[in-house]
């Protein structure tokens, strides 16, 4: 019985250590800030060769953002501007944009309205449109693709793309795509 008790106690201790491995970081994370300053430099690297000129006064959401690895979320003037970059390989713009709209609807419950053509300051063509959900949230999305990379931008909450504040839309238009290095 004694050895059985020790065996059980040791096993439970191992399980407890595993639980702590999950719980402790979760608790510690709650005490840390959610936003922070942007990385230095005039341009913000999103990833896969895509970068943008961030709007003045923007702060970086620390939890979802991974500059250089494909995800950046900015908080500016009560708005959230999320930029997601992926490697698109030889996918077509039409295929990529259609799937991106489908994922906005499937994963985030945001229905995309009729898309309209859009382009960046560097001449990269894409599309933009309005999104909304059943809960009354509305926003504006934009999708661009060049140099084997695609970026999906989502700005919420705004009523439509026309009313996106100019500094934020300037940041979207400032998107550039460089050829990626060794991947």
């Amino acid at each position: 019985m004694d050895s059985g008790f020790r065996n059980a106690a040791a096993a439970v201790a191992v399980l407890a250590a595993l639980v702590a491995l999950v719980v402790v970081p979760a608790v510690v994370g709650q005490w840390l800030p959610e936003e922070g300053p942007l990385p230095g430099g005039p341009r913000l690297d999103i990833g896969y060769g895509a970068s943008l000129h961030p709007p003045p006064g923007a702060r970086l959401a620390l939890v979802p953002s991974r500059p250089g690895a494909g995800e950046v979320e900015l908080r500016v003037g009560g708005l959230t501007a999320r930029f997601t970059a992926v490697q698109t390989g030889d996918a077509s713009l039409a295929g990529f944009t259609a799937h991106a709209r489908h994922k906005l609807s499937r994963d985030e419950g945001l229905r995309a309205g009729a898309p309209e053509p859009a382009s960046t300051d560097a001449g990269v063509r894409g599309e933009r449109g309005t999104v909304d959900d059943d809960g009354g949230l509305t926003g504006c999305y934009a999708i661009f693709m060049a140099e084997d990379a695609g970026v999906v931008a989502l700005i919420t909450p705004v009523a439509s793309c026309e009313v996106v504040p100019p500094p934020v839309w300037s940041a979207v238009r400032s998107l550039t795509f460089e050829p990626a290095g060794v991947g």
Partner: protein, 499 residues
Amino acid sequence: MRTPAFWVLLAPVALTALVVALFAGYLTFLAPRSAAAIVLPLVAYAAAWLLLLRWWADPVERRPAWLVAMAVAWGATVAVAVGAGSGYLLDDVLARSITPTFAAQWGAALVAPTAEEAAKAAGVVLLLLAARPYFTTAWSGAIYGAAVGVGFTAVEDAGYALIAADEVLPDDAGAALRLAALRFLVPGFTGHPLFTAAAGAGIAYAWLRAGRPRRRWAVLAAAVAGSWLMHFAVNSPLAVMAGEALTGLTGSGVFTGYLLVVALPAVPVLWWLAALRRHDAGVVLARAGAVDPAAIRPQDIAVLADVRSRRRAERDVRRERGALAARAARRLWRAQVRLAAAVSRPFRGYAAAGPGWLAPPVRRWRLEVYAARQALAGPEQPRLGADIARQALAGPEQPRPGADAAPGSVTDGPGIIAPGRVAAARRAWPAALLLLLAIVGLAYWPVGVVAALAATGVAWWHWRRPGRMRRGLAAAVLAGWFCGYLWLVNSAVALLYPR
């Protein structure tokens, strides 16, 4: 045998299996064609690993299928769930406490080894607690640890492949297959099975070896550190930077630098595991030899302890005595190995051999050994086994049976002779030349690689007889193989991801 730890191990496996199945089901729902495309390659990959462990890495013992299945299940369920959850949260802490840029660059290298290796190593500890009599040597920890790693990598690779299938286009089976193939090839042998094999060997070493507590703790710490470092190297931006740096070199491939960095911590770990494997195989054989010295003689151990030694000895027998004699010798060695496995494995919860008692499997294989020896006996081949075993030995020292042959207790073992032990270095220049060729081949593949492999093959063929392989030549052979692997990876990546 149903220890309390067995149920403590089983419960989270069953619970997280449900969670993992639901997540896998969701990903399959998103990308059904991709799921159908990758399931066979993944199953084949996992099966190849398990067969490699069974037939090559574990030359003597026979592991119970249920325990191997539990190890694989832990890796595929609890380790994946805890590793993913803890990894996400630790990465979060890193981003919030330092910067998201730092987390983007170093998160995978720092967080994943910590969270995932801890979760997998916990599985090895629980397996030890649940089935202690089946852990006969430190090598048992390596085998079950590798099995945990196989389960982990299969599920992780499936997850990544299905996520990639949904990333750009809907249900892109090509993207899923390319990513799965890339993850099979890179980092190849230095993946999760090796990481957890190292940690598992260290855990079992510290747990099972008698005496010298400082050394046991030191080995455990080094094994766990080696496991963490190997995983760190695979995920670290240093490896990517090395890949980018060497891309500028003429003829160098995309992954040359990356794999060089990955190989750095893996080489000493593999060296240690290879030595541990031979040593512990010798201990298991010596333990069976102590039960019946006539069945497994000290001179038989050097041949039996390694699959390559047996193949080499069989080739020698076939060349000298013919195919029938080779088959008879193979029967004898198989019976001896099965006898050793039967002695080391508990029988219905009890030791398989004790004073005046032998378990039925032990008796059976003991009889088979004697029958096989009888079959070998003849006017032309009376001492066949001894002749071959003597050829396999290099040096005057003879192995002795283990001092403590009781199951569940492992000493530091007798002086087991490994056939690969070298004499004084002679003709080191061919080995040095081959090594140089192999290194040159790294920079100027494929011509250099082909030349290095060809030269290595010729040298290996010439010096392949037992006892002649020098450490330098062995290093040259390994370097040649590594060169060939680099060429394969770079060619495959160029094919999968044409730029």
